[in-house]
Amino acid sequence: MLVRLGFFPSPTAHENNTAHQRVAAHGFRAGVDHRWGLTSSLVEYDRVLRVSPELREAPGRDRFLLSKGHGPMAYYAVLAAKGFFPEEWLSGFGAYESPLGHHPDRVLVPGVEIGSGSLGHGLPLGVGTALGLRAQGRDEARVWVLIGDAELDEGSNHEAIAYAGAAGLGALHAVVVDNASATHGWRGGIASRFEAAGWSATTVDGHDHEALHEAFTAPHPGRPHAVVARVTPKNA
C-alpha cells in the first residue's frame, strides 16, 4: 500500500533545513524564486505526494511533473534529500558526465517524471497521464503539474486546460507559480482561466506553507484543481 508521506509527525521543517544545508554544502546556488520552488516542492513531497524512491516505479504512485524545467536545482535537491539519487550528484550540476542538466531529463534522473525545458509540454503530458491512470482504474493516483505564469503563455496549456475541465479529470492538479513574469500579464487573473474551463481553482500566498497545504489538499470531486501560488514578482 502507498503511504501518505506527509502525515507523519512533522519532519518537514527539519528536513527543509537539512536539504538547504546539504544543497549549500554542495555549492548549489538557488535564487529567490528557485528557493521558493524548493520549499513548495518540499511541502508537496513531504505532505501531499505519495511517492518515494521505493515507489518510483509503482503504477499507482502520485506523479509530480515539473513542466517549468528551467532552474531545476531546487528540484534536484529535493530528490537527492529524499534519496532518489546520491547527494554527490548535485555538485556535478551541468557537467558533461553529470545526469543533472540545466533542464531535467527523465531518462537520466531517477524520480524525474518528465524531461522538460521547452515550455508548455507538462500539462498536456499530465492530461495523458491522468487519462492513462483512469483507464487502468488507478483512481488513487494523482498528477501534479508545476507551471509558471509566463509558461502559461504557451497555447498548448490552454488546449489542456479546456479539455481537462470538460473531461472532469479529477486526478489532475496544476500548480501555477505566479511571479508576475508573463510579458503581457493575465488580465482577469490566472485562476479565472481555469475556473471558466470547469476547474476548481484557488489563489494563495506562495510563501505561506499552511495556505499552500490547504490549497493542495482541498477536495475537488470530479474536477481538476489549480493552485495559483503568488510569489515575489520577478522584477520587484
Binding site: 524531461g115 521547452s118 503530458l125 488546449e159
Partner: protein, 303 residues
C-alpha cells in the same frame, strides 16, 4: 473495397476490445467512425477536440502510464502542426506510440495545400527511432497497423492514403522484388507501385516494392543493385515516393556508400501546385502518372 481509413477504424475497434493496454487518441478527425468503440471503451477512446498539441502530448502521457497510444489525425496536423510535441513528448521522453495519419500528400486535392503533408516523412527523418509504414493497399494497411500496435514500445508512423494499388502485396519485412531486370533498380513506395509498373513496362528494370521505408531496407537494395551491376559498373537507382521527392535519397546513398551509383528521386515537389481537382490530376501535375514517370525514368537511365 474499403479504404485504408475505413480499415483502420474497423481493425482498431477490434483491437481495443482485446488489448486493454491500447488507447486511441483523436482530435475530432475520424471520431465519428470510432463512436461505437468509444461507447464500449469510454476511457480508452479519447477525443480531445481540435487540439493537436494536446493530441500528441496526451498520447505520450498515456504512454507514461504504460499504455500503448494510437494517435490519429490528418498528416498535416499530426506531424507538421505538432512536430515539437512529436519530437519531445515521444522522442525526448523515451516513449513509444503509434501515429496513424490520413490525407497524405494529395488525398483531398480540392482541399488545397492546407490539407497536404508531403513533408511528413522528411520531418520524421530528423528524429531517432521512428519506424515508417506507407501501405499501398487496405490489406497492407491492416497488416502494418496490427504490426505497429504489437511493436512493444516502438515509435511507429503509419501513413494511410486514399490512393491505393489494385492488389495487395506481402508486406511487413523490408522491400519485395516485384520484377527483375538489368537496366536499373526502381524503388516504388506504397501507392506509387501501380503507376511505376505501368511506367516501366517494356523497360528492363528491377522494381522493388517498399511499404515500410524506415528502417530503410538497404540490404535488399544492395542485393538488387548487385544483381543489376554484377561485379562492376555503376548502379542506377530511381526512388518513386508519394511524398517529398528525394526523401529517401540519403538512405539510398548510405546503403550504397561504397558503390558508384546515381539516384533519381521522384515524388512531390516543394512548389505548390495551387490546383484542386482529383488525385489523378494531381499525380499528373506532379509528374507521377505512368507516362511522365516512364519518360523521366528512361531519360535518367539513358544518361
Amino acid at each position: 473495397m474499403d479504404t485504408m481509413r475505413e480499415r483502420f477504424t474497423s481493425i482498431l475497434s477490434g483491437l481495443l476490445d482485446t488489448d486493454p493496454r491500447l488507447a486511441l487518441v483523436l482530435a475530432d478527425i475520424g471520431a465519428a467512425g470510432f463512436e461505437e468503440a468509444r461507447l464500449a471503451h469510454p476511457d480508452r477512446v479519447i477525443n480531445v477536440g481540435i487540439r493537436e498539441q494536446l493530441l500528441i502530448g496526451a498520447g505520450a502521457g498515456l504512454a507514461l502510464t504504460g499504455m500503448r497510444p494510437v494517435v490519429h489525425t490528418f498528416a498535416s496536423f499530426l506531424v507538421e502542426r505538432a512536430f515539437e510535441q512529436v519530437k519531445l513528448d515521444f522522442g525526448h521522453q523515451g516513449l513509444g506510440g503509434v501515429l496513424v495519419s490520413a490525407g497524405g500528400s494529395y488525398d483531398w486535392p480540392a482541399g488545397g495545400h492546407t490539407h497536404m503533408s508531403p513533408g511528413d516523412i522528411a520531418l520524421l527523418d530528423t528524429l531517432d527511432g521512428w519506424t515508417v509504414h506507407v501501405p499501398g493497399h487496405p490489406d497492407e494497411a491492416e497488416t502494418l497497423l496490427r504490426q505497429a500496435v504489437a511493436a512493444g514500445d516502438d515509435r511507429v508512423y503509419v501513413r494511410l492514403s486514399a490512393h491505393s494499388n489494385a492488389t495487395a502485396r506481402p508486406v511487413g519485412h523490408g522491400f519485395r522484388t516485384v520484377r527483375e531486370g538489368r537496366a536499373g533498380v526502381v524503388v516504388a513506395v506504397g501507392p506509387m507501385l501501380d503507376n511505376v509498373l505501368a511506367a516501366v513496362e517494356g523497360l528492363g528494370v528491377t522494381v522493388l516494392y517498399a511499404a515500410t521505408v524506415r528502417p530503410f531496407d538497404g540490404a535488399s537494395l544492395r542485393a538488387a543493385v548487385g544483381e543489376v551491376t554484377g561485379t562492376g559498373g555503376g548502379a542506377d537507382v530511381v526512388l518513386v515516393e508519394p511524398y517529398l521527392a528525394g526523401t529517401s535519397g540519403a538512405a539510398v546513398n548510405d546503403a550504397l556508400a561504397d558503390l558508384p551509383h546515381r539516384v533519381l528521386g521522384l515524388g512531390i515537389g516543394r512548389r505548390e501546385l495551387r490546383r484542386y481537382g482529383s488525385i489523378e490530376e494531381h499525380l499528373a501535375g506532379q509528374g507521377l502518372d505512368p507516362r511522365s514517370l516512364g519518360e523521366r525514368i528512361v531519360s535518367f537511365l539513358k544518361r
